[in-house]
Amino acid sequence: MKRRRDLFVGFLLILPALIVLGALYVYPLILSVYTSFTVQGRYGLTNYVKAFDIYWRDIIYSVAISFATTVATLIVSVVVSGYLRFKSWKFLELMYKLPLFIPFLIVGHAMRVFLAPHGTLNNLLTRILRIEELPGLSRSWIGLVWAFVWIMTPYATLIVLGAFRSLDSAYIEAAQNVGASKWKIVIDILIPMCRPSIMVAFILTFVRTISSLTIPIMVGPASPNMITVNMMFRVNYFNDWGTANALGVVSYLIVMVFAIYYLRFMAAERGGIKA
């Protein structure tokens, strides 16, 4: 009896939060899927046909950009984490965390100024290298990936370094005793043993990249676009909610494929340890 009363009280306490989530998140989520299948009150796949027809290149482009970002981010964060695992360097410790809480939109604007053809970076490089002109990186895929890596690295490094640091030093000392170099230890011991955390960093970076609107509208090229930018255009310029939502559902599906792969991976990992 007391257990049931407790359950009831507990449920009442989380009810306001659940109502907020249900009305303001779950309802629009369902609405977005529903809208993607309707054209003027009739059900069908017209929106998807249209979305793939116009934007198939952009869908591939978005996945490719997100993938490139994720791989580059992981490489940077493993290098930084590997260094900081062995040596303490306050400067690097502060620098990698600095972008952590800066809003994406502001990073987008700052990167746009930084990477522009006559921006801060080229201004400096042309003077150091004594060349006349350098191409600008903003409004190109390199600039886009650059900005994404800049904003994603702090989170990824926080996760990877946390995992590296929580690993028992005995493993590392054992390897050092038989003469393994530091980078060999990182590659052969730290990375394999911290694979679950690295996977978390991978998924998190990928999802945050592919769902970002602000970075691609600020630094991305005019064409091809990330699908988030296309969604915005569809709504703002064409008032075309059907196609926008079809693109939205496509982005859900891409993220879900990764999430399922991740959950499976985690399940296999856990099962493996138990066996």
């Binding site: 629009p28 400067f91 801060t120 989170y155 769902s211």
Partner: protein, 269 residues
Amino acid sequence: MRRFSILKLTLKVVLVFIILLLVVGPFVGIAIWSFARIWYWPNPIPQEFTLRYWAEVFRQGRVLDSLLLSLKIALLTVGFSITIAIPAAYAFARYRLPAERILLFLFLMPQAFPQLPIFINLARVFGRMGLRGNMWGIVMAHTMASLVFSLWIITATFKSIPLDLEQAAQNLGASRWRVFWTITFPLGIPGVIAGAIHVFLWSMGEFNAAFFIGAPFIQTAPVLMYTASAGYNMQIASVIAIVLMIPSLLFMLVIERFLKAEYIAGIGG
């Protein structure tokens, strides 16, 4: 031996320079722009400087208006988010709820799943209800999406408070309500503050919901920054960007030593 250490020192200086260029460089560009009056290529610095654009932050006008609006929305969002999160966090920490992990994960969804389609559709729903172009529409959207920060942080804080303290008070005859207000809540205040700061920073810099729900009548600071930057009004955009960046950097420096990967690793798992 000595030459080797000189080489090492030079390498380190070069490395520091490269890291500074990569990490701090982007801020230098916008900092210079915010003071520029005329700046043509190929001058390394602007031909003429001005404080005019910084004055806009303190003078009546659209820049100050947008900043005040963002501040108002962020403070209201913090208020709602914390008020809703505290009872829920207490329930998650102290009552054995069924499917606790799944429920907690559900609140992460707005941050860990594509957010843009949600806000686009929410803007449409709000449009029918007359909440589009309205501050309260943005506050509601922000409260929903930032609930995970306050809820997760406060839940973790409440869970870390030893149960013995509460039981001792209960044994002396205090009601559960009283125990909460005299023991659990005061001990949980650091978590509540951390959650509030997180929500505040997120709301101040949020663009997607503010853009689609606020359009076309109201402009928060990030939306005005976007409009200015897209219209090549670099000075206004840079001034707003720097003003919005200051709280994030301050917070970063303050909590730097308390920052733990576990919190954020938890977000992924």
